[in-house]
């Protein structure tokens, strides 16, 4: 009987607690692993001004499209650039450098660089994970010949099949996995 009373009391108390929790506002969720920003820095080998390409999407899956700067990058013809890619979560202050996580789990990630247009540009990997497969945080990019309206698509794949045909040489076709970032930059080669 005592137990019954006690449990009834607890029940009432719990209902009361539920009803009272009404006034507490929920906390906002800080999105932790969201990538808002991809920055690709191209430094010409043998000196010169670095070119920074950036895509920034601060509302994530919100309605605003990513902001891409510059509208169209200007590369020098027949030049090899040392490229480094970085990804950030700028919803956190200071911005969270997610490149570090990618580097830490480099066997589960790979950046792909694909070019369209008349420039005939190309990229080659200069880094590798513990298995000797490329990661693509650092690459060298050859600009190719003079042309306008070229496009470079940078894709970060989580859990790609790095052993599949062509994947380690940068062909995304058989990579599988899932896309964490897919950004397209326009550029001219002068």
């Amino acid at each position: 009987m005592k137990n019954l009373k006690l449990s009834l009391l607890l029940l009432l108390a719990s209902i009361f607690t539920f009803s009272c929790s009404d006034d507490d506002n929920p906390e906002a969720v800080n999105e932790e692993e969201v990538i808002t920003t991809l920055r690709l820095t191209l430094t010409p080998q043998g000196g010169g001004t670095a070119i920074v390409l950036q895509s920034q999407d601060l509302d994530g899956d919100g309605p605003n499209p990513p902001v891409i700067t510059p509208m169209s990058a200007q590369l020098s013809a027949n030049t090899t650039y040392d490229a480094i890619v970085q990804v950030f979560n700028e919803l956190e202050t200071p911005a969270d450098n997610i490149t570090l996580e990618v580097a830490e789990e480099d066997d589960e990630h790979q950046f792909f660089y694909e070019f369209t247009g008349a420039a005939n540009s190309s990229a080659s990997y200069t880094d590798a994970d513990a298995d000797g497969n490329p990661v693509g945080i650092t690459t060298t990019i050859s600009s190719g010949v003079v042309s306008t309206g070229n496009a470079l698509t940078v894709t970060l794949i989580h859990e790609p099949q790095k052993d599949a045909a062509g994947v380690s040489s940068g062909d995304i076709t058989n990579a599988g996995g899932e896309t964490d970032v897919e950004v397209t930059f326009s550029y001219d080669v002068n």
């Binding site: 209902i15 506002n25 906390e27 906002a28 509302d59 990513p66 990618v102 899932e178």
Partner: protein, 818 residues
Amino acid sequence: MDVITLEYLKLKYILQTLLMKYFLTILAFAFIHLSFSQNCKYIFLGEVIDFHDKTPIIGATIYIKNLDKYVTSDVDGKFRIEKLCNGEITLVISHLACVTKTQTFVIKGDMAKTIALEHHIEELNEVSISAKAVKKNTVTAQESVIKSEVLKKYSSLSLGDALKEVPGISSINTGNTIVKPMVNGMHSSRLLIINNNVRLQDQDWGIEHAPSIDINSANQISVIKGSGALRYGGDAIGGVVVLNPARMILKDTLYGKTIASGQTNGRGFSLSSSLNKTFESGWFANVQGMVKQNGDFEAPDYILTNTGMQSQGFSINGGKKTFESGFEVFYSFLNNKIGILRSAHIGNIGDLVDAINSQEPFVVEDFSYDINSPKQEITHHLLKGLYYKRFKNFGKLSLQYDYQNNQRFEFDVRVGDDRDKPALDLNLQTHSVMADLILDSNLNRKMTFGLMGRYQNNFANPDTGVRRLIPDYDKYDFGIYGTSEWVINGKLTVDAGLRYDFNRINAKKFYQISRWEERGYDTDFSNTIIETQGSQYLTNPIFDFHNFSSSAGLKYSLDDDSYLLANYSLASRPPNPSELFSDGLHHSAARIELGDLRLNQEVSNRISASYNLDTPNLLLNVDVFYNRVNDFIYLKPSGIEQTIRGAFPVWEFIQTNASFYGIDVSANYEFTNNLQWSNTTSYIKANDVIEDKPIIDIPAFNTNNAITFSKPEWKSFSASLKSEWVFEQNEFPDFNFETFIASTDETILVDVSTPPPAYHLLHFYAEATIPISKQTTLNIGLNVNNLLDTNYRTYLNRLRYFADDLGRNILLQLQLNY
């Protein structure tokens, strides 16, 4: 003069002296006078009546224990026992279909007593006399009952699989372990699932949220198409699924069963056991438990990596139930851990295109029992207390309280520190109270009234580090209903009912300011903003809904073997939290899903008719229906949005007017006592009448034929071969869209709409029952599903873009009844 008379005279003299001396009462005199009398001359006049309506019970047997004599009640329910002495007599009154009653009377001279027996126990649905009785919940609705003999075949599967026994019932799946039942093309919030008289509250809004039900806890399942069963709720636009545990048997007995099974596909096992103890006094206790595990399932050509599942559940139930009053306490627990096909986790549209174009899933690994991300972990607790009391010549009042706690974790493929953190962590708690009053003193004019109150709280844990898909909310529901059932004459029964429901949903939700403005909420809902946090608004939308529902129908017996049913029902369903508040990327579908705060309730008007024939050789049931749903809520693509992950199609919840109509047929024909053929066929057509387009996700025409050979003499042996033929769905809305693939510089069509081709499967089932002792039998069942290992994909499986459905599965099942 004999000795006794002499003694008597002596005594009388002494007594008279004493009387004079001590003024003893006349009563005392009489008492002593009698106790020495051998002259038993008193008469007991009894009348046996029906407890619930006071009508006489004719032909009841009255056994007078002390005298070892029998009498029978006459046409007025009366009986007469003569030559009784004073003192106690014990009568045992019994009658066909009544619970036998033993009653003791103290005889003090002639007396008359009324004894109430209950003659309509089966009809009044309280306790069961026989364990096998099939009990329907409705009179004029399209209701089909799946009995325990059939349910046992699904012990290792799910509720959604078992319900497909009924024509018109299909399922919408995410893989093969997340199976949501679909009634005449409707699922999720349009279906009510009632488990032991408790409406299941388990976040049923999502297609990938399977009902939190262990099928082994049910002894009988009823599927009611449409909203005719008003006492369960007024929003059953699709229908109601009612799961009932075994009914109480008023006997001193202990019984139970254990089902063990093993299967080749998924290399899984399942074990389920139940034990029931009942007493003639009405006390009872039941326990039931289940455990199952499967590893990766297999399609004919490859392993479906990460599709294993683990499930544990148990329920306990106890109380005292008699015809006149009773109480019950019920608790059930279920824990499901379900792996989702690894290849179905995709990042953007490009991945989806690749998946659709690839014949095989991208990730195929060796068989494993491991369940990795993506996966779901769901726990469901249900606690119920029930009390009822029956009043003579009036009816029955029952009161019920129930509490449910549903915890859902969904794990995505994540990186770094978040790897083991759920991406979704929702806790839904529901308290309900119900009071129902059944007035059944006149079985020809039954009435039921009821009240319902419910409080629900949803908590979305922010620790996931992922923006909430469903916000925190409090929901309040209140319902009141009345139904009535008239037996007009031997051929015609009519029923009708009315219900009103009030719902209030009070949510606290964060919106990205960009989304808030894009939706146009800044003009309509700016008063709901509580505060601004960075790029988000915290808002407090509160919505009230008033819902009316009603139902009316008739059942007309054409002759002894056949009847007709006709029913009209009106149902009204308020939008669910997902339809109101969704806002974000749905990973497995690679689309952005947006709710709408402006949605109002959908209203269904459903007309149905059935013909049922039951002859010794032929059983036939034909159901037809037309369901017009105004403001039907569904997801429709509306455009494409760019994100840093690439482009995503946007699907919005919108409202339209829709019409659904169809026909479901089931037939069973016995060629001989040993050979029978059965068929279930269903066809449904659904249209958006405003846009003149088909509705998405409607099951295609399908027909199942089975030939069964049975030989009761051979240990109840039976074997059947079943053909399942599902046509290609030709009526579907074209929601395909084009997307630009930057890496290859081309625009391609993303075909998310075209249904897969038709398929035909063969299944084999055989069983036999071996008696082991007087009380114990062993049933052995062998089930081969997809006998020919056919490759197929089903339109109503959300993973059809990624992989084939299951290949051949051989399942051996042993059931021990004791």
